[in-house]
């Protein structure tokens, strides 16, 4: 189920949180509402951890992770690193890497099997990603943008990309990622997908500006609508989903 939330009156929830299948990281905010929303949804399944990275709250854009591991930029302090190691489950490998492009969340998008990275990423970082996250790494651009981590969000079941992505690109990415992809927007027409929402295999959180159309697209492509009458789902699928691989 997709939920609409706000972080301190800001709709860019993907900036202030990181959601994976094994854990969830949340930024430290003034009020507890943001944390409570995540808690309410996820508390029984996965741990929800409040943290900062390098003293900042934009943790969603600075780190990247999946159920196997978490990669942190070199700006992370030792205390934060330790805190994260303590809070996250043991099978999650927490690693701080030295990468010139320190906003890892903007440069890398991944699910549990495949990762798309910024074309200019270091070879060494690529190896780290392959090791720590246990994924296959592809250097790609999305609709001509090199910040792949910002302009697409995908889980193991589907993905949403920048609205200006051409059909050929969509096909190619779909082949690489082996999931159905759709070009769409979030937060009432915003193209920065990953900043506006965060998603894992069974739930998604979007900014409160997201319109009903966008929400339905998200729910259908990420297959979040479990337990709905299939007829309606099929109909909507036909009219909403553009390309399937």
């Amino acid at each position: 189920m997709a939920t609409r939330i706000q972080f301190e009156n800001n709709c860019e929830v993907g900036v202030f949180s990181k959601l994976t299948n094994a854990y969830c990281l949340v930024a430290i905010g003034g009020s507890e509402n943001f944390y409570s929303a995540f808690e309410a949804e996820l508390a029984d399944a996965i741990p929800v951890v409040k943290t900062s990275i390098g003293g900042t709250r934009i943790i969603g854009r600075l780190c990247v992770g999946n159920k196997n591991g978490l990669l942190l930029p070199h700006t992370t302090t030792d205390q934060e690193l330790q805190h994260l190691r303590n809070s996250l489950p043991d099978q999650v490998v927490v690693q701080r890497i030295d990468e010139r492009l320190s906003a890892l969340g903007n440069c890398i998008a991944c699910n549990d099997h495949v990762a798309l990275t910024h074309p200019d990423l270091d070879k060494e970082t690529e190896e780290f990603i392959a090791d720590v996250l246990g994924v296959e790494v592809f250097r790609q651009t999305i609709a001509g943008n090199i910040l792949v981590g910002s302009y697409c969000a995908f889980s193991n079941r589907g993905g949403l990309v920048h609205p200006h992505t051409s059909i050929e690109d969509l096909d190619e990415l779909s082949t690489l990622l082996q999931v159905p992809l759709v070009a769409g927007t979030v937060n009432r027409g915003s193209e920065v997908i990953a900043a506006g929402m965060t998603v894992n295999d069974w739930t998604a959180f979007c900014g409160s500006d997201t319109t009903a159309t966008e929400l339905s697209v998200i729910e259908s492509v990420f297959k979040l609508r479990e337990g709905q009458p299939t007829a309606i789902v099929d109909d909507m699928r036909k009219s909403l989903i553009d390309s399937y691989v």
Binding site: P163, I167, G184, G189, T213, D242
Partner: protein, 525 residues
């Protein structure tokens, strides 16, 4: 990204991959559409965002009904016709600032018809504005202007007191004829010096020019000083006085008197004057009046220029003026010396035998005189001159001269041509002079017309006087078939004439020019 599947053209062997844009759903209404920077379909965009929000729908403009001009605040009034580009410019300037503040740009404007007496002007503007991540929307927006009537400053001043003047130039010349004023009128028209005058009125003995400011009047007086020998006196009269700011309002009067000597006047110089001018013969003829008087001694062909100030020392008057010219017929002429030219005019000393036209058939009165018109006269010509033999003069200087020297009996002044009443190829413009309603003697009108006719004939005969004035082509002129009569009558050559400005002529000229230009271009290619 181009819609459709046309491959992008690569230049010079470069491979450009095919990029077909996919369709996205409009985030508001869910309709499938091409992606745009706002990712909303056009209808949702337009519904959501009104780019004309805050743009004024009504405005006011001020109009002066007298001179049909519109106010451009704070103070300038611009003339504009109905639905003209100037009017559109004025109206757009009125709403320019709110548009600029809202960052809306104007991509077009046009007039919507409204009845002129409705006092409303309607414009349809096409506005363009950037909204939401770089999408540019265009929308039409009607604006209605309410027209308020108000007299502009100049019109209200004219309306309040049409006779309001601040300075007057009273131009006078104490001679019985008005030739000087006719000539001055043409000079003023050519140089545009009377354009600032509020009113021009005729007064006995001259003209009055009324001005709205003292400097305009002073400008006219300065101009007159360069073209005529004048003497000026100024006076001022207090009209009102503001005690608090110590501002005094005056009415200024410039009393300008032109020297009474005119062209073709015969003057007898007093012995002292004659001596001061280097022994100029007692009888002199005035040949040219500019800001100095040119006096010609017809017997010695010497010209002396007398300035106004020097003239005031002697203050002599003309003994005989051009009204007293008598017609003579030349019986015989014998050139005495070669033709000389002084000041651009030609003279030649000659002996002539003349008889008065009134005597011609009746008696044998013949005069033998020396004249300066040797280059013009032939036997059988008619000439005009002063009859000193039969004149009865009331002039002290003339009496002194008569007793001292032996004066000639006739002084010939100019050649006379046949009087032919015919239309002229040229015409003159006139100043709008208000005639005084009262004090019109019976023969006054005819006399004025005669004087004007004489003035025009004088212009024909004298190319130098034509030089300083504008002659216009007379469209009503038709060259007469009867040009066999007397070809020696002087006429104004057509090269000196100016085309009178009319719109019809301009369009014709433009048409001709473009036709020529086209043919020229054709030839080039």
């Amino acid at each position: 990204m181009m819609p459709g599947s046309a491959p992008a053209a690569g230049g010079a062997g470069m491979f450009v991959p095919v990029a077909t844009a996919g369709t996205v759903l409009c985030c508001m209404c869910g309709v499938s559409m091409q992606p745009n920077p706002a990712n909303m379909c056009a209808r949702c965009l337009r519904a959501r965002v009104d780019i004309t929000e805050g743009v004024p729908r009504h405005a006011a403009v001020v109009y002066c009904p007298d001179c049909s001009s519109y106010l451009q605040p704070p103070r300038s009034w611009l003339r504009a016709g109905p639905e003209s580009p100037e009017l559109m410019q004025i109206l757009l300037r009125r709403i320019n600032r709110p548009l600029a503040r809202l960052r809306v740009s104007l991509s077009g404007a046009e007039f919507v018809f409204s009845e002129p007496h409705s006092k409303r002007l309607r414009l349809k503007l096409r506005l363009r504005r950037e909204v939401l991540h770089g999408v540019v929307l265009e929308q039409t927006h009607p604006v209605e202007f309410v027209v308020h009537d108000r007299l502009c400053d100049n019109c209200s001043r004219a309306q309040a007191n049409p006779d309001q003047w601040v300075a007057v130039v009273q131009l006078r010349q104490h001679v019985p004829h008005r030739r000087t004023f006719l000539y001055l009128e043409q000079l003023l028209l050519k140089h545009g010096q009377a354009s600032l005058a509020i009113r021009v009125a005729a007064a006995p003995g001259g003209l009055d020019f009324f001005f709205g400011s003292r400097s305009h009047a002073a400008r006219l007086v300065d101009f007159l000083a360069t073209v005529a020998p004048i003497q000026t006196q100024t006076a001022k009269q207090l009209v009102s006085h503001d005690t608090k700011s110590s501002v005094y309002n005056y009415k200024y009067t410039f009393s300008v008197e032109i020297c009474p000597i005119c062209r073709e006047d015969l003057i007898a110089l007093s012995p002292q004057a004659s001596r001061d001018m280097g022994g100029l013969g007692p009888l002199v003829l005035c040949v040219k009046v500019t800001n100095a008087i040119a006096l010609l001694d017809p017997l010695t062909l010497r010209v002396h220029h007398l300035e106004e100030k020097k003239y005031r020392v002697y203050n002599f008057k003309a003994a005989l003026t051009s009204k007293q010219l008598v017609e003579y017929i030349v019986l015989d002429i014998e050139q005495e010396s070669p033709e000389i030219s002084i000041d651009g005019s030609r003279y030649q000393l000659a002996y002539a035998q003349v008889a008065r036209l009134s005597d011609f058939g009746k008696n044998d009165t013949i005069f033998t005189v020396r004249t300066h018109l040797g280059h013009l006269l032939n036997a059988g010509d008619h000439a005009l001159g002063y009859d000193l033999y039969g004149a009865n003069l009331n002039d002290d200087d003339m009496d002194t001269a008569m007793t001292r020297y032996s004066l000639p009996e006739v002084v010939l002044v100019k050649k006379s041509y046949e009087k032919r009443q015919r239309t002229r190829r040229w015409k003159l413009k006139r100043l709008p002079v208000e005639e005084e309603a009262t004090n019109k003697a019976k023969g006054e009108e005819e006399r004025r017309l005669d004087e004007y006719e004489a003035f025009l004939r004088d212009l024909e005969e004298n190319p130098e006087s034509r030089f300083s004035m504008n002659l216009y082509k007379n469209e009503d002129y038709r060259s007469e078939m009867a040009s066999t009569v007397g070809d020696d009558v002087p006429t104004v050559p057509i090269e000196e004439l100016i085309e009178d400005l009319t719109l019809g002529d301009d369009e014709e000229d433009e048409g001709e020019e473009t036709a020529q230009g086209n043919t020229h271009a054709g030839m080039m290619e």
